[in-house]
């Protein structure tokens, strides 16, 4: 199968420590500047040096945003790389680079382009510069520019002295010349046209979209404990901490991170925590506190395969059930799972307004695939959300938990008004003092778990519907798989619609109408089909097929296409 959005997919296969991450960032920016649509994503091992990492770069005339398993070009940076990715190499795949990195069985006539990358790097000054040789090679192959790359090298290696800068630049230019030569001699014919419309686009990653969205939503406090793949959000925020006035603090553990954020919200800040499944496990008690004390809270969970330490640097959507039910006792929460950069920006911002409006925790679920994926989007697609202000003043007799029709009590913060603000993790009366009064105990449970929940549900966003709403088949998906599922479904050209959920919980009330009578296929990256189960539980509908993947690698368009096609073939080709 050739991908609908066409273009070329390049795999860079190296060890940790070979500078491929740097290379990826440089390539994406400069190829975008060269007027290509670009996409990049990484699969890497949980180690700092060595191992088998794969970076995928797609270049296209059209927008490219989905993961493809088929490689048009593979550049192996070390021996062993090709066997490791052999299932992604077909008869069409061109293998480029040092022949010493190519196992014999992969070297086929006309499809192998030997380029002495290492020798060139050594000539330029060090074998470490091999990434720069490739950094030049690829733009050379596609008639791109080196402009941004030069600047990047200057900035990045300045501190290491002129020699290093010059060596890198040399490597880059030699690579470029070589790429041009390969192209000009016709041994490789690039099949990608430029797209002038990308000029004003930005290249953004999931990490950046979440962080920037949160900032736009007014985040001014970020506490965290490092944990892959969630740390990037903290790194990004730390870089802009002084400039934007955001307090960023690495806590001693996730328990402290969660509770610091709760303290911050109690005092009126807009706080977020960024973590992954294991860290979130440790915040479960704090989540329950936020539920009881009605403290807003925003937690970003970048999922990775569990249980326990699992596969720290790989991808999974296995923590939905935990997000739904973490924390003892019963209290409402909101779960969002952006499917693309625009949604990540908008929802990460909106999370703060939602948390403050309903005084509940809001969980943003991404995953390793999502945070480590980059592509270009028009800057104008980033919606400027408004920071709503919901903070009240505390009068003399202020009652933090006053019982109201809709379950929401006006929320004051300490120091804003003459009264005092009493928050309580024990069951309480309207003022916030402990109460064991039977009636009041019941009413407070209803305030939180029924009234507030009902109100939130009315606010729930509908899934994005792609395709013909009258279709007989419906594919449902959530979170990071958006573009991959979309591309696969569009490619299918069957009687099928796609419902993609980025507002995951609570589900809006009228889904049954939309889905009733259709053959429903769910697509998600976990063992149990957690979203499918939730959907079926809430709508009473039967999910006929669960399309699941749980080996820690993202779904590819090709893979999904095959599966969905065979399912729908089975359904009499409808």
């Amino acid at each position: 199968m050739r991908l609908r959005n066409g273009g070329t997919t390049i795999l860079l296969c190296g060890e940790a420590g070979q500078g491929i991450k740097t290379l990826e960032i440089m390539l994406l920016s400069s190829l975008k500047l060269s007027r290509f649509n670009v996409y990049g994503t990484e699969e890497y091992m949980s180690r700092v040096r060595g191992g088998m990492n794969i970076t995928e770069i797609r270049i296209s005339h059209h927008r490219v945003r989905a993961f493809s398993s088929h490689a048009d070009i593979v550049i192996p940076f070390h021996k062993g790389a090709l066997p490791w990715i052999s299932d992604r190499i077909s008869g069409d795949t061109v293998i480029m680079g040092d022949s010493r990195n190519m196992e014999k069985e992969f070297m086929r006539e006309g499809k192998t382009i030997e380029i002495p990358l290492t020798d060139i790097a050594i000539r330029a000054g060090s074998r470490l510069y091999i990434n720069m040789v490739v950094g030049g090679l690829i733009p050379g192959l596609f008639d791109g520019t080196l402009k941004l790359m030069n600047e990047y090298i200057l900035k990045r290696f300045m501190s290491k002295g002129k020699d290093v800068v010059d060596g890198n630049l040399r490597a880059l230019e030699e690579g470029y010349a070589l790429g041009k030569k390969v192209k000009d001699t016709g041994s490789f014919v690039p099949a990608v046209k430029k797209d002038p419309s990308v000029a004003g686009d930005i290249v953004i990653s999931g990490t950046e979209a979440v962080a920037l969205g949160a900032m736009a939503g007014g985040m001014n406090f970020l506490s965290f404990y490092p944990m892959s793949p969630s740390t990037g959000v903290a790194v990004f925020a730390a870089a802009h901490s002084e400039e934007l006035g955001i307090l960023v603090e690495q806590a001693e553990d996730e328990i402290a991170a969660g509770n610091m954020a709760i303290g911050a919200w109690y005092a009126g800040a807009r706080a977020m925590v960024t973590t992954s499944g294991g860290g979130f496990s440790l915040m479960t008690e704090a989540l329950s506190l936020a539920g009881m004390a009605e403290i807003p809270l925003v937690i970003h969970i970048a999922q990775r395969p569990g249980p326990a330490t699992g596969l720290p640097t790989r991808t999974m959507q296995g923590d939905l059930n935990m997000a739904l039910y973490a924390g003892h006792g019963e209290f409402p929460r909101i779960i969002l799972a952006p499917g693309n950069m625009e949604q990540a920006f908008r929802l990460s911002g909106a999370a703060f307004n939602l948390a403050e409006l309903f005084q509940v925790p809001v969980l943003i679920l991404t995953d390793q695939y999502f945070v480590d994926t980059h592509y270009n989007i028009p800057e104008t697609d980033l919606e400027r959300i408004k920071r709503d202000g919901y903070i009240s003043e505390a009068g003399e007799d202020y009652r933090r938990y006053i019982l109201t029709e809709d379950g929401i009590s006006p929320r004051a913060v300490p120091g804003n008004g003459k009264g005092v603000v009493i928050a309580n993790g024990n069951e309480h009366d309207e003022w916030g003092d402990i109460s064991e009064d039977k009636e009041l105990n019941r009413k407070m449970q209803e305030k939180r778990a029924i009234k507030k929940m009902d109100k939130i549900r009315k606010h729930a966003e509908m899934p994005e519907i792609i395709g013909n709403t009258g279709a007989k088949n419906a594919v449902v998906s959530w979170g990071s798989t958006y573009h991959t599922v979309k591309e696969a479904v569009e490619r299918l050209e069957k009687d099928v619609m796609l419902l993609h959920f980025s507002w995951v919980h609570p589900l809006p009330g009228n889904l049954r109408q939309v889905l009733e009578g259709k053959t429903i296929m769910s697509v998600e990256q976990n063992v149990g089909g957690q979203f499918a189960d939730m959907l079926s539980r809430e709508t009473g509908l039967n999910i006929r097929y669960k399309v699941l993947k749980y080996d820690g690698r993202p779904f590819s368009v090709e893979e999904l296409y095959e599966i969905l096609n065979s399912i729908m073939g089975g359904e009499d080709g409808r």
Binding site: G218, I255, V420
Partner: protein, 286 residues
């Protein structure tokens, strides 16, 4: 004046402590301390954990958050960092702060926010009915340690000195005036202060009674709190138990060093997102 700190709410009149409990004395000490310092209830915050000690905020009028067992310190840190204009106190029992919350104490000392931690140290778990706490003396028999405690008691003072906490003191609530003085200094101290407040639990701790504390404690005289090794020597004395200020090390607070307040001292809750700066960052991603 002290009446300013009487909450006068429906839920604050029936005090849940046992008659005769040392917590009543601590409450009086706090009311006196707060009013002598001229604190305002609405500019003061008590973050308490869970336990008998942690019920304090219901019986004294300030902003408050009666939170989770062990978590008063990180919550208090979050409050202080978000609004440095508030006077922030974290309060809890010996189980609360030294056992469940032990890690937070260690690392808050390193961070040095300008908060005051008051530990009601009755050397026992009160609310959960008499189990050993980290400060329970060896030999004490309890429902869950019927064989008699044999773990080394935690010495919070030597630990805080070893971590170079900014202000470290111990008092016994039976001495009202001296306790007020010490807690005043702790609150006024710029930086992280921890005060271990010994107090009897008249129900579950049959050893460390009012008389016991009177007989087995003494006030340090002429101790130089700026001498850390001396502080350590004092700290490991156990019979009798020294009271007073063990250690002071003035140093920049967390709030003074953190980059979020480098350019602007507006409390976080008053800050609006700087959308233009954010979009400037975005533009650079072209």
């Amino acid at each position: 004046m002290e009446d300013r700190f009487e909450p006068g709410r429906p839920g604050s009149s029936d005090i849940a402590w046992c008659p005769g409990c040392g917590n009543f004395g601590i409450r009086n000490i706090l009311k006196k301390t707060f009013s002598e310092l001229g604190l305002e209830p609405n500019k003061t915050v008590i973050i308490s954990g869970i336990g008998q000690a942690a019920k304090m905020p219901h019986y004294i009028k300030t902003n408050a958050f009666h939170s989770l067992h062990g978590r008063a310190i990180p919550i208090a840190t979050g409050v202080k960092l978000s609004n440095p204009e508030l006077t922030v106190i974290a309060e809890g029992g010996d189980g609360d702060i030294y056992s469940e919350g032990g890690n937070h104490l260690v690392h808050a000392i390193r961070r040095n926010p300008d908060i005051t931690v008051l530990v009601h140290d009755n050397q026992i778990y009160g609310l959960t009915k008499g189990q050993a706490s980290p400060t329970t003396y060896p030999g004490m028999r309890t429902p869950t340690q019927p064989w008699g405690v044999f773990e080394e008691p935690l010495n919070p003072i030597s630990m805080a000195v070893a971590l170079d906490a900014s202000f470290v003191a111990r008092t016994y609530m039976g001495h009202m005036e001296k306790s007020v003085e010490i807690i005043k200094k702790a609150i006024m101290h710029r930086g992280f202060s921890v005060v271990d407040i010994l107090h009897p639990c008249v129900v579950f701790n049959r050893l460390n009674t009012y008389e016991w504390y009177k007989e087995h404690t003494y006030w340090m005289e002429g101790h130089d709190p700026y001498d850390r090794t001396k502080a350590f020597e004092k700290a490991i004395e156990t019979e009798p138990v020294p009271l007073g200020i063990f250690h002071i090390h003035e140093k920049p607070t967390f709030e003074e060093q953190v980059s979020a307040y480098a350019r602007d001292d507006t409390p976080l809750w008053k800050r609006a997102p700087n959308i233009d700066s954010i979009f400037k960052i975005i533009e650079k991603m072209r």
